[in-house]
Symmetry: C2
Subunit: 424 residues, 2 copies
């Protein structure tokens, strides 16, 4: 369990994690622009981030939002999954390119110009995050492709992790070493907590050689049990995207080991995203076990971490098990599933709080649990997470052998402030 | 559209609505008690409320929470629906009698004592609302049945509407006249916004004569299209209860007219419950039309009013249509339903904000909409609702002839404060 006392210390750890796998270069470039949607003299600043493979690769995979009204980069990305090879990805922050006139053409124009500039036979993926409904500043973006291209280098992934941020409190980098090669991943996003600047973006690079078909089979499974098991506020963005590229430079000795390493990178990066929410003061880890199916366990876990009453209780350091029972009962009632409440056991941390059909709480235990929750809170998330602790809820259903873990955040004043005070 | 300038004016309107139908008496009685769960010198105050029919009736119906872990009064109430006749109902606030040792026996003992005291051949329903997990003060409750019984009178329902409140900001009464008789209803609850004192309770009295089977057919339908279409925070309580009794004193000339009158009473009372939330600063009315089915329309409406991002935007008087699209797309994506975004039209108040696949907003329109939202906000809900206005979102899906209306509340600092600052 890591503790971070200063931002410098946090960033030092991140830079250690951020060494690029072989066969990749990255670059970032910032510029000012005047959005046409606002009659203002104040320019906005946009960061471009380029990830490029030394040689276009056929080993890439992508998982996109299930939102029925996705942004244009998601629509284009889904098409490009069918390509033989891909040259890399161009990411911009500030504007998400969703539901604006000509958004698809603009994205294709920009990546087309990049492909020509970089003299590649294969396309680049576009990726955008930021305000919904506004147009990308196409001219300015194209004008900045040459200086961006000039900056490509093969040092580390840290700068890119900072460059893709919107309202993220801190950059997020995770990595794992394997077979002399490595997996290195960055993420942007604090769930949907940002005002209109929704979107979780995850970019994973590896030099481990793996079959394209194999990667496309295992990647969605891993996303499903990591990034799809976190929830800040139950809202799924129009642009959520996770992309993985392999440069194929290092032989893979065991696909199982690769899978394990990728799972560990994704699951710790998923935690970072929840921890990162500026509105988040507690990371909540719900483990539901003894369920009849993984789906049942995941459904109950998500019902808990999406319940406003559970979330506000944990914000208030209140071991309010009545609300957990209520949220679970609501979910089960809606699903029409009967689970005997006498067989359920609920713990917070290492303390049992419900067992045999009844609450098991007294004033002393409540005080202990409230202090446990206080210890888990993020007193400082100004530019770095102070620690990696979480409030652990363990639910045993007493009716099967399946289990699932989901991660969520509490519901705070800061969440409401950020999301209500945006434009008015 | 009513405006209420003072609490007195609001209560005067309520008292006019609260005349009892024939054949009923009500009484309230308060007392202090010391809950065994807390070692404290401060007593708590409990209100008992009794609703009694002059003659036990066979015409009664009840709809209870779908929550899989219901409270004991709900478990008992479901049983008692099978009785030939019922004498009335005894309601207490403060403790909800959920998941505590011996809770079922306690509830039956108390209503049993009441039945004996009132010399009735038929039982009373129990109903409780308040803290989850604590025990009812059985001895004190039984000791207060005689003074409660002495206070029975046939004046009005207003006192009872006040007596069943927990953290409700104001009492709620609605009524309708029909065939020389009337329907009069009271409700308690601010959704699940109260810390542990969950529960919506609705009690409806009528002297209109109607067949038991007919009532039990139409009552769940009406509940489903009124109280089941409101959501404060998507959490369903362990004790939600709606009960209707008929004394059968007045002939019913048209069952359709009775149904319409009952719908109107329930739907306005449902609005009052949403408006009542202490954390609520806007009532949101979402109308989804041109849907393929009522379920589709209701599902989309609920997705909108349960989306934290939609709720915080409206709290902030922000006409943030990007979030509405995101919430709808999230719901449809999860359901696997494809709706062409080009055919959708979204309006806020009388302004179209999305049409033909694109946002339709400029700075002037946004300003106008923000002012519209400000006019709808509750600047004062200290003991009375200042007005009956709502923020109206109209969604046309362009694919069918079905529609549905749902009501919700915004997400505010006050909501977080009330639910986080409860015990610690």
């Amino acid at each position: 369990m890591k503790e971070f006392t200063t931002k410098d210390k946090y960033n030092r750890v991140l830079k250690e994690r951020a060494a690029l796998p072989e066969g990749f270069q990255t670059a970032v470039q910032s510029f000012d622009f005047y959005p046409e949607e606002r009659a203002t003299d104040e320019p906005m600043r946009m960061n471009l981030t380029l990830i490029e493979l030394d040689e276009p690769t056929d080993v890439f995979a992508g998982v996109f939002t299930r939102n029925a009204f996705p942004g244009y980069p998601v629509i284009i990305g889904r098409d490009l999954l069918g390509e033989d090879k891909i040259s890399g990805i161009l990411i911009n922050n500030r504007i998400s390119n969703v539901r604006c006139h000509g958004g698809k053409e603009t994205a294709l124009n920009i990546t087309g110009e990049l492909q020509e500039l970089r003299k590649k036979d294969h396309p680049y993926l576009p990726s955008s995050t930021g305000i919904i409904g506004w147009k990308l500043p196409e001219k300015e973006m194209i004008g900045n492709l040459a200086p961006l291209s000039d900056k490509l280098k093969r040092t580390d992934f840290f700068e890119a992790a900072e460059s893709i941020m919107t309202t993220d409190a801190f950059p997020k980098v995770r990595s794992a070493d394997l077979d002399g090669g490595r997996i290195c991943a960055i993420a942007k996003g604090a769930g949907m907590i940002e005002p209109d600047m929704a979107t979780m973006l995850v970019f994973i690079l590896t030099d481990i050689k793996i079959d394209r078909g194999e990667l496309r089979k295992l990647f969605p499974e891993i996303i499903n049990s990591t990034f799809n098991r976190i929830s800040i506020d139950s809202d799924q963005s129009t642009s959520d995207t996770a992309i993985i590229f392999s440069s194929g430079r290092k032989e893979c000795s065991s696909i199982d080991d690769f899978k394990k390493a990728l799972y560990s990178v994704c699951s710790s990066l998923a935690e970072d995203i929840v921890r990162n929410g500026e509105g988040t003061s507690h990371l909540i880890r719900v483990t539901v076990s003894e369920a009849e199916s993984v789906e049942e366990a995941t459904g109950l876990g998500k019902a808990l971490i999406n319940s406003p009453l559970t979330k506000t209780a944990i914000f208030g350091n209140d071991p309010n098990v009545g609300r957990f029972i209520q949220a679970m009962g609501d979910h089960l009632g809606e699903k029409g599933v009967y689970i005997n409440p006498d067989n359920i056991q609920i713990s917070i941390g290492d303390q049992i709080v419900y067992e045999g059909g009844f609450f098991s709480l007294d004033e002393e235990k409540e005080k202990k649990l409230s202090n446990y929750m206080k210890d888990c809170s993020f007193v400082n998330s100004e530019g770095f997470p102070p620690h990696e602790r979480s409030v652990d809820l363990n639910i045993k259903l007493g009716r099967g052998i399946c289990s699932s873990q989901v991660l969520g955040s509490d519901l705070t004043y800061e969440y409401v402030r950020e999301n209500a005070d945006y434009r008015t």
